[in-house]
Point group: C3
Chain length 278, copies 3
């Protein structure tokens, strides 16, 4: 069954990439030749270079909040010019996602729900000649976005595709603890993990963290301000997962952690399962 | 007396923060669900991390030039989740400022004139649940901006507030000189001080600068071009204050200066007060 | 003969500079006081500081793709406040370019065709007082853009000007090779040269590159994926010129190359001129 269509005649188009502003501007130029630039919102051109996993996590966090029917163009594409397909996902709410079929768009597509995937055929989006083979964002994805923004259906861009699956690593719940990993180091050097904050029981006071090979104990707090300057703490991040931070200092540097670094948490002071709290 | 209201039905909304593009994009998503994204202008997501004083100075310089009735959302917020209030200022021209009540918005509010401050009550801007406690920009300030942009009055967001006062440090005029400090290091490494350029008398030829513990003499010039490559000079900056620069080199690095570094200037060659001619 | 005019009543305005977001925001403020901010697109505020040649190359690549009648404001302006003029170019398609007359705009103006240049007279664009002498982007170019965006003709901003000529260095074709230079190091550390990709004959398999004083041989490939991780290759860039890259590594760092570094290529395996088949 085809999903219901929520796409408007003049949808919002978002841009997210690791391309930097100069390449991203060339995508904006292609869009501006056909659609109203007032509808185009750059989310970021500054995703970690070549970081498909981290990019997929951030894209979902940024783009997931946009209205039904939005078109999201995303590029983290180390395989450009090679064998990976170019994909359009159409989701339950009529949102469309356009980019490389390397997993980058997959977690967002799943979150938006009931995705149908199509392989972009250059000829079907009006692309007959190419300047090079290294910039599909400008030369293929942007023309596909134009087609969709002007009212084209996702299935018109090319044949159905079995998309590449990328699932973000999931954390494991253990008694009084959890095992997971760092998904993202944010601008402040905070470590954003994949461990759901709701796993931390009410009343937890301290959390022991093994991050890579370093073991630290730190308080479970609800603000950076609750920490002494420079000292470490564990918080519920704005992504809904556990965050390891240092007050006005870069925890990532202090701990030598990067996306992919393993994290083992053990908490103390909270209610045990089934116990009757205070 | 209530200030006159200049707010339009569909005001411009500006965004300024130290959040980086990925967090800032999540604010844009909240706004895009309710207001026309064509009205939203990102000024910067790249203010110095945690730099409230420098951020306040830059915010005033950026946002002060916008039309009457603009809504400015600003975030430099190391105290998020803690005791500081969330504030809406409404100013003489109907402009509203939304952000943490940590002083960041205060110099801008004073410049815009006759500010009235209100504490944001989450329930009154439609916020009943929160993902975490670390991102009020997305979870509290953006909903408040939406309320205002859709025509709400500032006093509807919550009760009146006695706001936190932050006054930018002022320079002191001395005979043939001035004492002040660096407020901002710009992208080129130029030192922007708080010493008004108009204090430098006409005819001044050279300025001796003690910056931190380093003493330099440099010409008073009106362009970088007047300097030999790499050499230092003193200019009237675009902020209306004295700037210390090195031609196509980073003066901040050469002098080891950062925001807060003290600056003592002594000028020579200009007219003395009351003297005639040069 | 005057060029035909394609300018619309409410043209797109693009911004490109090396100013960083804080100074660029002050340009946006001036524009927002007079024209619809929905028409203003920031291309970049992150051009290499003081890099007129690289900026000219990138500006042409970014702005050249915009619709007829667009107004492009560009600032890479180490000579601000000095003797260089301020210029408006009007081109064949009605596009206008506004910025310093230091060559930055020249390659774009030539590409857009039949440029006529005018020197900006501050009084004629409504500028009578100035805060300082270091920020013509805000204080002179932006008012000129406003004048043009509101329907003013280019010749109204000031008298005709013989503009400063800047020609991007051209590569030289040699038998089975070419001599050129690096014009741009992109965000990924790829070296973008000025050697046209179409000079590489069909069937070329390997390219020997002398970059500065280092000699390397690398395969001629059509995707980064064709390279072993970390190893080097030569590709046709998205600028239409030869690019030297390393897979998921910064070729510029590995080779010590910057804009201006000389490049000598020799290719093997392709068809010789006049030969039949491979």
């Amino acid at each position: 069954m085809a999903p219901p269509r929520g796409r408007r005649r003049s949808p919002i188009v978002t841009l997210s990439s690791d391309l930097g502003s100069v390449y991203s501007a060339q995508i904006k130029a292609v869009l501006a030749r056909s659609i109203d630039p007032a509808r185009v919102i750059e989310l970021t051109s500054d995703l970690p270079a070549h970081g498909i996993m981290e990019g997929a996590f951030l894209l979902r966090a940024m783009a997931g909040g946009f209205p039904a029917g939005t078109i999201h163009l995303a590029v983290v594409d180390p395989g450009v010019g090679g064998r990976r397909a170019a994909v359009v996902f159409e989701c339950r709410d009529g949102s469309c996602l356009v980019g490389p079929d390397n997993g980058l768009l997959f977690p967002l597509a799943e979150e938006l729900g009931r995705p149908r995937a199509f392989s972009i055929d250059p000829a079907r989006v009006g692309v007959h000649t190419r300047v090079g083979t290294t910039f599909d964002g400008r030369d293929l994805f942007a023309p596909a976005v134009v087609r969709l923004a002007l009212g084209g259906e996702a299935e018109e861009v090319g044949p159905p595709l079995e998309p590449s699956v990328l699932r973000l690593p999931r954390a494991t719940h253990r008694p009084r603890g959890a095992t997971g990993e760092v998904l993202h180091v944010d601008r402040f050097g905070n470590l954003i993990t994949n461990i759901p904050s709701r796993w931390i029981p009410a009343g937890t006071r301290r959390v022991s963290s093994r991050i890579g090979r370093r073991l630290r104990e730190a308080p479970w707090v609800s603000s950076y301000e609750a920490l002494a300057p420079g000292s470490m703490g564990v918080l519920g991040s704005s992504f809904g997962t556990v965050e390891i931070s240092a007050r006005e200092r870069r925890a990532a540097d202090a701990l030598g952690a990067t996306p992919g670094t393993g994290v083992v948490l053990t908490w103390t002071g909270g209610r045990r399962r089934g116990s009757i709290g205070k």
